[in-house]
Structures are given as C-alpha cells and as structure tokens.
Amino acid sequence: MKINDVILRTITRIIVFIILTFGVYLFLSGHNTPGGGFIGGLVLASAIVLLYLTSDIESIRKSLPFDFKLVAALGVLLATGTGFGSILFGVPFMSQTFAYFELPIFGKTELTTVTIFEAGVVLAVVGVVVTIILSMSESEEA
C-alpha cells in the first residue's frame, strides 16, 4: 500500500505560511525584539525544508526554481556590500545609519541600513541551509 500523505500535506499548507510569516517577522523586528537576520533566515529556511520534507525535490524545484547557491551569494554580496557602501560615502567600513522618516501610510518609521545588511544575512542563511540540505539529499548513495 502506497503511503498517503494527505494529512501531512494539508496541514503543511497552513503551517508553511505561518512559518514564513513568522520568519519575515523575526527578521524585520529583530532590531527591537528578539530575532534578526540569522534567526529569521533560519526560520524561513525551515519553512522551505518543511516543503521538501512533505513533498520531493523535483516538485519543489518546479515551484521554487531558484539556484539557492546564488541566493546565498546574493545575500553575502548584499551584506558585504552594505559594509563596502560606507567606503564610498567616506565613512568607516560597516557604518550603519538609521533615521526616522514620516511615511504616508506607516507614519513615523525607522529606516536603517542594518535592515539591508540583515536582508543579506537572511538570503545567505536561507540559501546556504537549503543548498546544504538539497545537496545532501541529492547525493547518490554509496
């Protein structure tokens, strides 16, 4: 009898979205509450891993046709790039700036370069974790 994963897959559909949202939340709110790029990225990666767990690599690849190595590379580039950006502005490497802006809908909002930096971290973490897990799963057995 073939395995029928209907229960798992159905529940996963809800749960993946909860986890994804939670991951983005952790990433963005890390500046003031627990969280941040790493943990956000890890949680997002867990969501993707959950998808792989409940389905298989090939079907997920159709839905998420990213090369996760490049996602990670992009993340690293973003993270290092924000640091490097400060050189162009003539301030010490890795200078982060933050400011409060009045935005139409959001009202008083804090915008900081740390967020860009952390976005890089998120992408890198997601990219790396998924790359590792996919590579290990795809490896032929001995």
């Binding site: 490049l70 590379a73 580039l77 290092t80 640091g83 982060q96």
Partner: protein
C-alpha cells in the same frame, strides 16, 4: 579612520562572491582572481609606506571607538605578512591556472582561494580577539573546502583529521576567549593588554595565556603539528603550496601578537615554554624530514622545522630576535610555496611520490631543477638567499640572550634541512634520467612561471634585504613596545 586597511579582506571576499556568479566563465575567473591578488599586493605596499610615514593605521568598523567596536590595526608586522601572503597567493594562482583542472575551477576553486586569503589577511589585521576567531574560521572553512576539493580517497581521509583537529583547536580558542572575557571583560587586544598589565598578569591570567598558547600552537604547528604532514600532502599542488606558505604563519602571527602585545609579563614561564616547544618542534621536525622518502612528507616536515625556528625568535623576544623572525617568516612563506610547487611538479612529472623512485628530472626541465636547488639552499639558510638574514638575526639574539641550546638547535636544523632536501635533489633531480625522450613532457610554461617568480623572490629577498629593513625594524619595534600599539588603538582619534 582609514578604510584602506579593510580592503585586503573585503576585496577578496566580494570578488570571491562575484566569481560564484561567474561560475561558467573560467578564463574570466582566472583573470579577475589574479588581478585581485595583484591589486591587494600593491595596496599592501602602499599601506606599508603609509605606516612608515604616518604610523600605525587603524580602522574602527562602523565608527565605533575601541574598545567597544571591532577594528583593524595595520602595523608593519601585519601588513608585511599581508603583502607576502598576497604575493604568494597570486603566484600560486598562476600555478593553479595550468594545473588545477577545469573541474576544480568550476567548483569554486577561485572563490575558495580568495576566501582563504581574506581570512588570512583578516587574521593579520584584526585588533579584536573574537574577530580573530572569526577570521580564523573564515580561513579554516575555506581551507576545509580546498583540502577536500577533488574528493580523492586519501584527501577525504586526511581531511577528516585536519577538520576535526581544527574544530578542536577552535573549541580551545573559544574556551580561552571565555576565560579571558570572564577575567578581563573586554575583547579589544590593546585593551586586553592594558588590563593584563594593570592586573600584573597574575597566575590565572598566565594559565589562560597558556590555553591561548595551545590554540595558536596548534594552528602554527608548534609542537602540536601532527595534523600537518598528512593534510598538507593530499590536496592539489597549488593548494598545498598555499597551505604550506600561509596557514601556519597565521598561527605564528597570532603567537607573536599574543605574547608580545598581551602576555609579555611572565617571559620566564610563557616564553620559556615557547622556547622549549620550539626546540622540541625542531627536533621532531628534523626527524620527520629524515624519516620518509615521500617528497610531500619531507616538504611538510620542513614546514615544521621552520615553525620551530621562527618561534625561537619569539622565545627570546628581543628586538633583534623578533626582527630575525619576521625576516624568516617572510622568507619561509615564499620559499615554502616554491618548495611545495616543486614537489607537486615532481610528482606530476613522474607519477610517483618517493624520491628514490625518481631520477634525472633536471634533464626534463633544467629550470625546474635549478629552482629546486635554489630553494634547497635558501631553506638551508645559505646566503645570499632569503633565509640567511633571519637566521643571522635569530642567531645573534640567541647568543645575546645566552640561549645556546636553542641556538644550537636552530643552526643544526638548517643542516638537516639541507640534507633532507639534498637527498631529493641528488636522487630525483640529478642522476640518470628515467623518463625516455618520447615520454618526456616538458613542464608547461604556466607551471614554470610561478616557480621562477618565487625563485626570483627568494633570491631578491636575500640580495635586497635592505629594502625590507626599515619595515621590519619598524615591525619589530612595534612588537617589542606594546605601548606603541596600545597608543595607536586606544589613544583617541588618530
């Protein structure tokens, strides 16, 4: 603030990441990676001169003043090493172009090398102890990737040892850091130095310093070198050359920094211990160099001998001694890279690894053979090649300090080095050629050029030692006067 000093780290990293995107374009990768290393070398020369005129360069990342933020500190010692490392890397890259193979090149060989050198440079430049840990890890991860690159059976087998032992070393590093933070409450090296001085380096701090000694000795191959011969003899030649030239030097650098800047108050304990370890290292290294017929192993044990030699300078720790060590480090980086490249080329030409199974290689490639002879002489400290200046200074300081045992070991080791390499030279390079005219494959130009470049390096470093003299003496001055470093870091704005 001087953003210059971060470039030797950040440029290789960013270029490395960009090369990941350029994965299919091998030629482009080669050009970019080589240009990067040349650029970093040029930059380091510029920095050396800036230091010479304006003093130590410092960069507080994010503008956070020490001791709160992380900072890079470029003094002559660090930048000299950055310079040498970058040059050696550039040369090894050229060697890799025609030896490493397209399969490796497509598997991120160049990014890994660039990350490795970034970690190495970062370790030299950082002024923060925890950041040093992170830079070490950067370097190590890249080295893990490189040492396994290719996936040969022996490679993977030795890699396990290499990785596990380094993981353990990193663990000890963290333990030591934890203890140090627990006692001193700070991570900035200059600040640590200040606080150690304030506390008078009591027994507990000395205990902790010995834990650091353990950590860096593992990296440097000082006494704790058993991981080295295996893991340096399995990766592709270009990688082995990089390892032989760079990796132990980072540990050596850290030992010098640690025991001149921070834990210099109890030399009768720490420095004496370093001296004993250096002596034993030399003895064991010499034995290793004589024990095997496998050229890669002989070459690896030569690395060990050099480590002991260099650390004698630290054990004595007078300005002359330190100066000698610095000369010797620079010499050794170049000569060892050359030696590893040559050993690799020998194995490639003959298909065997033991020197008694090779013969008459000089007929196949005279330049190659003579380069081997030059590096033999250079490593044995035969003047006017690069090894001898450091040897004289270390010897001089040992005499002044009355460390006759170390003196004897140091100088005796150069004879063993000579013998160990002469054996290879006479058996493998000289002698009746075993390769028939038909099978004779002349070494590719791409392999000869780097070899010649390094050979030229070791000659000109000896003949042109004066060109380095100002930088080296400045480096030694900074190392032997911790106050200079501390003032540059903590003495307010530059």
């Amino acid at each position: 603030m001087n953003n210059l000093v971060v470039l030797p780290l950040i440029i290789p990293i960013m270029v490395g990441v960009i090369l990941v995107f350029l994965r299919p374009y091998i030629r482009l990768q080669r050009v970019i990676s080589l240009l990067t290393m040349i650029g970093v070398s040029g930059l380091s020369i510029y920095m050396l001169n800036v230091i010479q005129t304006d003093g130590i360069i410092r960069l507080d990342f994010g503008g956070w003043k020490p001791p709160f933020g992380i900072l890079f500190v470029g003094d002559s010692f660090a930048v000299l090493l950055v310079l040498t490392a970058s040059i050696v890397t550039a040369v090894c890259l050229i060697y890799a172009f025609s030896s490493i193979g397209e399969k490796h090149e497509k598997m991120f060989f160049y990014p890994f090398v660039l990350f490795l050198i970034a970690g190495v440079n970062g370790s030299f430049l950082t002024g923060d102890l925890f950041n040093l840990f992170v830079c070490f890890e950067l370097m190590l991860l890249a080295s893990y990737a490189l040492v396994t690159l290719g996936g040969e059976k022996v490679q993977l087998r030795e890699s396990i040892k290499y990785v596990v032992i380094n993981v353990l070393a990193s663990w000890f590093f963290l333990v030591a850091l934890a203890y140090l933070y627990g006692t001193l409450g700070t991570l900035n090296m200059a600040h640590i130095s200040e606080r150690v001085a304030e506390a008078g380096q009591d027994p507990l701090l000395t205990t902790i310093s010995i834990v650091f000694l353990l950590v860096f000795s593992l990296k440097a191959g000082l006494l704790l070198f058993f991981w080295l011969p295996g893991s340096y003899s399995v990766p592709p030649t270009a990688v082995a050359a990089l390892f032989g030239a760079l990796l132990t030097k980072v540990g050596i650098y850290a030992l010098f920094r640690m025991f001149t800047l921070i834990f210099y108050h109890e030399p009768s304990i720490t420095h004496q211990l370093i001296g004993i370890m250096a002596g034993v290292t030399i003895i064991l290294g010499c034995m290793g160099a004589l024990a095997y017929k496998d050229v890669r192993l002989i070459v690896s044990y030569n690395v060990v001998i050099a480590v002991g030699f260099i650390l004698i300078g630290l054990a004595i720790a007078t300005p002359t001694a330190i100066e000698g060590s610095i000369y010797y480090i620079i010499h050794d980086m170049i000569a060892k890279a050359l030696l590893f490249l040559l050993a690799g080329a020998m194995i490639k030409m003959t298909g065997v690894t033991k020197f008694d199974q090779m013969s008459g290689l000089i007929r196949n490639s005279p330049i190659f053979g003579w380069m081997f002879f030059i590096v033999t002489c250079s490593l044995a400290g035969i003047p006017p090649l690069s090894g001898f200046v450091g040897k004289i200074l270390v010897g001089q300081s040992a005499i002044e300090a009355g460390s006759y045992v170390l003196l004897a070991l140091a100088f005796f080791s150069s004879i063993v080095v000579l013998y160990s390499l002469l054996r290879i030279f006479l058996n493998a390079i000289f002698g009746e050629t075993i390769i028939s005219k038909e099978d004779e494959v002349p070494l590719k130009k791409g392999l000869l050029i780097p070899v010649v470049l390094l050979g030229f390096g070791t000659i000109s470093l000896g003949l042109g030692a004066e060109a380095l003299a100002d930088y080296v003496s400045n480096a030694a001055y900074t190392l032997t006067n911790p106050a200079v470093y501390i003032e540059a870091v903590l003495g307010g704005d530059e």
